[in-house]
Symmetry: C3
Subunit: 341 residues, 3 copies
C-alpha cells in the first residue's frame, strides 16, 4: 500500500469521523485511542442490553456524535476535535439521560441540546480555569446534566422515571455480601460505572479497552477501584451502593488522572495518586449526602473535585518535570490518525 | 440654546443625580437611557400599586438611590457611575425586599445595607471575573439578596411574610389556561417579572421603555419571553409559574444580552441568542428545584448562569469583531448626558 | 549568651518545631506569635476539659502537628512554614472532628487525613485566588471538614454523634436570657467559638493571647463579638445560638482581618471593618439556614465569604497604601524566630 492510498483513505470523511467519535469515547478515561473507544462502546452496549435499558447505549452513540458535530459547527480548534476532546462529555450525557429519565421524545431532544451544550461549556470552563492551570475534566458533562436532571423535577415532559426521590439524609444499611466472588463483581462494577453501567462484564470490557491503549492506565483503574472498594467497606458505607460499584467509578478516574496523565509516573506520583484515590471516596460519600435533598446523582463530580484539589497546588515530584495541566491531551502521544494501526 | 446654558444645566447636581438614578433603573435591561428608566419606574409603580404592594415601588427608588450614593461615597470610578452601573443592582434589591419580606423597620434598614453592599460586591465580582472576560451582570443583586432572604429564616426581625415554605421538590400541576388572551398576559408578565412585578400592564411599560432606547432590545425581549413561554408549556412546567411569568424574565434578559449587547448583531448571534434563551428555560426550571428546600427565589440567577455559559467560550461569529465582554457599558453609545435629548 | 549559643539553640529542631506549631495555633486569628498560640492552646484545653470533651484539645494538637509536618514532607516553601501558616487550618480540623464526630479509630485516622489535606488545599486555593489578590483564609479547613462531615452521614464508621439532624429550615425561639452577666458570657463565648469552644473562660484566654501579640487585634476581637451580639439580639435570632456564642466567632475574625490585617488602620478602615462585622452576622444567619437540610456546621465560612466580599473590590482608604492581600503573613512582622524573645 503506497502513500497515495493511505492519504486517500485518511481523506474519507466518514472514516475520519468514525475514528474521532471512537476516540471521544476513549477520552472519558483519558485515552486518545479509537480501539479503546470501540471496546468501551462494546462494553456499554453489552451492559445496556443486559440491564434491559438499550436506550443507554444508543444515547451514548447519539451524545458523542452530537457533541462532536457541535465542535465542528462552532469551528472550535480542530486540534481538540481530532483527539476526541469534543465528544467525551457528550457520550456521558448520552449514557446519563436514558439512565435517569423516561424514554420520551422530549428526553431525546433534551439529550441532543445538552450534549451540544457540553462542547462549548467545556471551552468556556477551560478558558475559566486556564489561569489556574487545570482542565475542566468531565465537569461540563456533570454541570450540564445536573441542570437537566434538576429541571426534570419541574417539567412533566421530562419524566424522572429512574431517579431516586429527594429526601433528607437518613439511615441506611451498610450490609453487603462480602464473599470473594461478590467482591470481584463489585470491583469490576466500579470500573463499569464510569459510564453509568451496572455490569461486571462491562468492567472487563473497559479494562481491556484501557489495556489496548495503556497497560499502566488499566493497572491504575484496577487499583483505584480496589482501593475505593476496601475503603468504603472499612468505613461501612451503604451496602447497596458498594455492591453497585457506586463508590468505585470516581476513584478509578482520579487514579488514572493522577498516576498516568498529569504527573510523570514515579514512586512519588504513585503515592500521590493513592492518597487522591482515598480522598475521592470521602468526597463521593459527602456528595451523596449533599445531593440527597435534590434527588440527583453525583455523576463524576467527586472525581473532578478531588483531582482539582490534587492539581491546584502544582506540587512537583520531579526536578525535570514541566507539567502542562491545561492540556492533558498533549501528553497522550498514541495517535490512531493513520490507517496503519 | 447656547453651549453655556447647556453646561450650566448639566452642572446642576440634583438634575445630574436624577438622570443617573434613572439610567441605573434602565441598566437592569442594559439600557443606558434615562427615559427608559423613567418608563421602567412608571411600570414598577403601576404594578406595585395594582398588586396592593406599593412598598415595592418605593423600595425600588430607595434601592437605586442608596446604591448610587454608595458608589460616590466609596469614590468608585465615575465612568461607571454616570452610566447608571452603580444603581441597577440596588433597584432590584429594592424590588425584592418588600416582595418577599414583611414591612418592618428592620426590613427597610436591611434593604439599605443590602443595596449599598451590591455596589462594592459588583466591583469585587467584576475584578474576580476580569480574567475570564465576563461581567458580573445582575449577580451582585442575586448573591446579596439571597444572603438576606436566607438570614430572614433565622431572624424574627425580618419576617418571611411572602416567601414560600422550604420543602423538598415534589409534585405540581402543569395545567394553565391556554386561551389566546391568557397567553398574551403570561407573555407580558414574563417581561414584567424582570423587576419582580406580576402585572401584564407593567410588561407593556417595559417594552415601551426598551423601545425608547433600542427597538432591537424591545424586539428581543418580546422574542425571549415568547420562546420561553412556548418551551415551558411544551415541557409541561408548573401552570401557576407559567401564568405568573416566572419562566419568562430570565430568558428575556438572556435574549437581550446575547442578541444585542455582547455580540455584534447578525444571523449567527441571533441563532446563538435563541439557543441561549432555550437553555435559560431549563436552567430556570432546575434552579426552582435547587432552591425549593431553602424556600428562596431564584431571582435573576438563571439569566446570569446561562449568559456566562454562552460568553465564556468566547466564540466569535464575525471576523472583524472584537467583543470586550468585561464592559458591556462601553458598547452602549446612547448617552443622555446632555439636555439636548 | 553569645551568638554561637543562640545559633545552637535555634538549631535544635524540636524547639523550632514547637514554636512553629504554636505559631500555627496563633495564626487562626492572624497572630504570628508563639506566646499567643500557647495561650490559645491553654484556652482550648481548659474549655475542652470543662466541657467533658478532652478529645477536642488533643485533636487540636494532633491537627496542627500533622498539617505542619505535611508542609515539610511536601517541601512547600519554608517561608510559610516558619510563620505557622501550614498549621492553622489543621488545628481547626483537630477541634472540629471530635466536636462533631464520635470518638472512634476511624475518626482519628480521618482527622489525620483531613488535617494533612488542608495543607496542600491551602496552597491550591491560594494559587487559585492569586489573580484576585485575596487569600484563602480558613477556607481550606472549612472545605475539607465539610467533606468529611458530609461523608460521615454516609459512613457508619464515622459516627455523627454530636451533629444536629438534617431538617428543613423551621421555627425557633429567639428568647435568650439578657441579664448583664449573661451578656458578658455570650460575648466571651463568641470569641471562644473561633476554635469551636463553648466556654466564656476560654474567651478570656483568647483575648489575653491576642493582647500578647497585638492590643489592637484584642480590641477588635472584643468589638467584633459585641457588635455581632447586639445585632443578633436586635434582629431576634435564635436565643440558644446567641447564648452559645454562635453569632460571634465569624464577626470576630472579620473584624480582626479588616481592621488590623488587610488594611492600614485608620478611621476609614475602622468604619469598613464595622460594616463588615454587621454583614457577617447576616451571612452567618443565612448559612445556618443554607446548611440546615444537610445538618452540618457553618464553621468559619461566613467569615471567609464576608472578608472576600470586602477585599475583592480593592478599595483603598489611603493614598500611600499598597495592600498585598495575597500574603497576609508578610504584614505580620512579629517574629519569634530567635530565642531572645
Amino acid at each position: 500500500m503506497n502513500t497515495t492510498t493511505i492519504t486517500d483513505l485518511t481523506r474519507r470523511p466518514s472514516f475520519d469521523f468514525l475514528r474521532i467519535v471512537l476516540r471521544g469515547t476513549g477520552q472519558v478515561m483519558f485515552q486518545n485511542n479509537a480501539w479503546t473507544g470501540l471496546l468501551f462502546l462494546c462494553g456499554i452496549f453489552w451492559g445496556a442490553y443486559a440491564g434491559h435499558l438499550g436506550a443507554v447505549a444508543w444515547g451514548a452513540l447519539l451524545g458523542v456524535v452530537v457533541s462532536t458535530l457541535t465542535g465542528r459547527l462552532l469551528r472550535l480548534p480542530e486540534r481538540d476535535g481530532v483527539q476526541g476532546l469534543w465528544g467525551f462529555n457528550g457520550v456521558l450525557v448520552g449514557c446519563a439521560f436514558p439512565t435517569f429519565l423516561g424514554n420520551t421524545w422530549w428526553m431525546w431532544l433534551s439529550l441532543i441540546l445538552c450534549a451540544a451544550l457540553t462542547t462549548w461549556v467545556r471551552t468556556g470552563f477551560n478558558n475559566m480555569m486556564a489561569p489556574w492551570k487545570v482542565n475542566s475534566l468531565t465537569f461540563p458533562f456533570v454541570f450540564c446534566t445536573w441542570i437537566f436532571l434538576l429541571a426534570a423535577r419541574a417539567m412533566h415532559g421530562l419524566p424522572t422515571t429512574h431517579m431516586s426521590a429527594p429526601e433528607l439524609p437518613s439511615t441506611f444499611s451498610s450490609m453487603a455480601d462480602l464473599g470473594f466472588g461478590h467482591l470481584i463483581a463489585y470491583w469490576l462494577r466500579g470500573i463499569a460505572q464510569v459510564f453509568l453501567i451496572d455490569s461486571w462484564v462491562t468492567g472487563l470490557f473497559f479494562l481491556a479497552g484501557l489495556a489496548a491503549s495503556s497497560l499502566r492506565a488499566a493497572l491504575w483503574a484496577a487499583v483505584g477501584s480496589a482501593l475505593a472498594l476496601l475503603t468504603a467497606i472499612a468505613l461501612e458505607a451503604s451496602g447497596s451502593q458498594i455492591a453497585g460499584g457506586l463508590y468505585g467509578y470516581s476513584p478509578v478516574l482520579t487514579a488514572i488522572a493522577l498516576a498516568t496523565v498529569f504527573y510523570r509516573p514515579n514512586r512519588y506520583s504513585a503515592a500521590w495518586a493513592v492518597v487522591g484515590t482515598l480522598v475521592t471516596v470521602f468526597v463521593q460519600a459527602g456528595m451523596y449526602v449533599l445531593l440527597a435533598p435534590l434527588g440527583i446523582a453525583t455523576l463524576t463530580a467527586p472525581f473532578c473535585v478531588t483531582t482539582w484539589l490534587f492539581l491546584l497546588p502544582r506540587i512537583r515530584f520531579d526536578e525535570n518535570e514541566h507539567p502542562d495541566h491545561s492540556n492533558w491531551d498533549v501528553e497522550n502521544k498514541t495517535h490512531l490518525a493513520s490507517p496503519r494501526k
